[in-house]
Amino acid sequence: MGPLVVNEIISENTNLLLAFFVGIAFGFVLEQGGFSSSRKLAGVFYGYDTVVLKVFFTGAVTAMLGLLFLSLFGWIDLNLVYVNETFLQSAIIGGVVMGAGFIMGGYCPGTSFCGAAIGKIDAMIFIVGLFIGVFIFAEGYPLWEGIYKAGFMGSPRISEFFGVSEGILALLVIVAAVLMFWGGEWAEKKFPREEY
């Protein structure tokens, strides 16, 4: 069974076609969830709208649970699923720079495509910025290649890192997410904004 491509159940070209459909679903859900609006997205950082928090963490937790259950039933081999590599310094630097970009631009790359799809001009400008940013990174690559590759830790899962089972870690993440949902709704009541 899954992953279908790695196990050669479907061909590479079918894979690309399916990527297109996955993308459609991805874009549709993001837009329906309100991720096409930068003011809604930025709301989470001021407490007036925590939709990002709710959608993002519900999504992450659902996906995590789903993959663990699929693996439990033997429908997917989690060893064949890509786990992002961890380069410690680079991950932190990247996260900090992205966080700054997020609060300034009000979008992240995925959501900006979504905003652009429904005609948000600020989203299109943000995408132009993304291209410039990646280009700057590419051209200046020799300057930061060292730091980019420093602190390589392989592809550890957090559960391996802390030495607990994946299930228990999943439960901890869920508890954290639920606490955030309740905190978020509390914040929305505390810092209400009607018109935006």
């Binding site: 993308g23 679903a25 709710k54 630097i93 993304l130």
Partner: protein
């Protein structure tokens, strides 16, 4: 300009569950997840290879990519996926009647300011996504789904920094 906008969106938890299902589907099909910045990188590389092939052969960044990837960089899972995102977002916009040309901004700032900051934010996000080896979708969301340590670190750095800087950019948003 924002009558009953709030009720117009899907319930966030429902949207989140659906988002999770999309990530699961992506993983089930190809063993990898969603991502946006990778598509931009592929496009840049394809562009440079077309416009300045000599440069693409000599500069380290492009060479490392072509060494690791065969074929046309545009023939890539993430590129097709991002095309899908445009279509999906558009369909959703039609369905919920949200298709309009506009610059969305806080009434307290001008469109010009908003666009300048959008450009700056985009540039920073573009650079950051390369360091982080993926953006909020590719690194944080997908990374959390597979319990990747790097994904969690990126996610916390992104949201932590944005929260820390929120005060300084408050004029943009509230």
């Amino acid at each position: 300009m924002s009558e009953n906008r709030k009720s117009n969106y899907m319930n966030p938890y429902l949207a989140g569950v659906l988002l999770g299902l999309v990530v699961i589907a992506a993983n089930f099909i190809s063993g990898r997840s969603v991502g946006a910045s990778g598509a931009i990188k592929s496009t840049i590389i394809a562009g440079v290879e077309t416009i300045a092939p000599a440069h693409a052969e000599s500069a380290t960044f492009y060479k490392e990519y072509t060494d690791g990837h065969k074929g046309n960089p545009l023939n890539n899972w993430l590129v097709y996926q991002m095309l899908g995102v445009l279509v999906g977002g558009f369909l959703s916009g039609i369905l919920s009647k949200r298709l309009t040309w506009k610059v969305e901004h806080n009434p307290k700032i001008t469109s010009r300011t908003r666009l300048l900051f959008a450009l700056g934010g985009g540039i920073l996000f573009g650079i950051g996504s390369q360091f982080g080896r993926g953006c909020t979708s590719g690194s944080a969301l997908s990374g959390m789904a597979v319990l990747s340590l790097g994904g969690f670190i990126s996610m916390m750095a992104i949201f932590g920094t944005a929260f820390a800087l929120a005060y300084f950019f408050r004029k943009l948003w509230i």
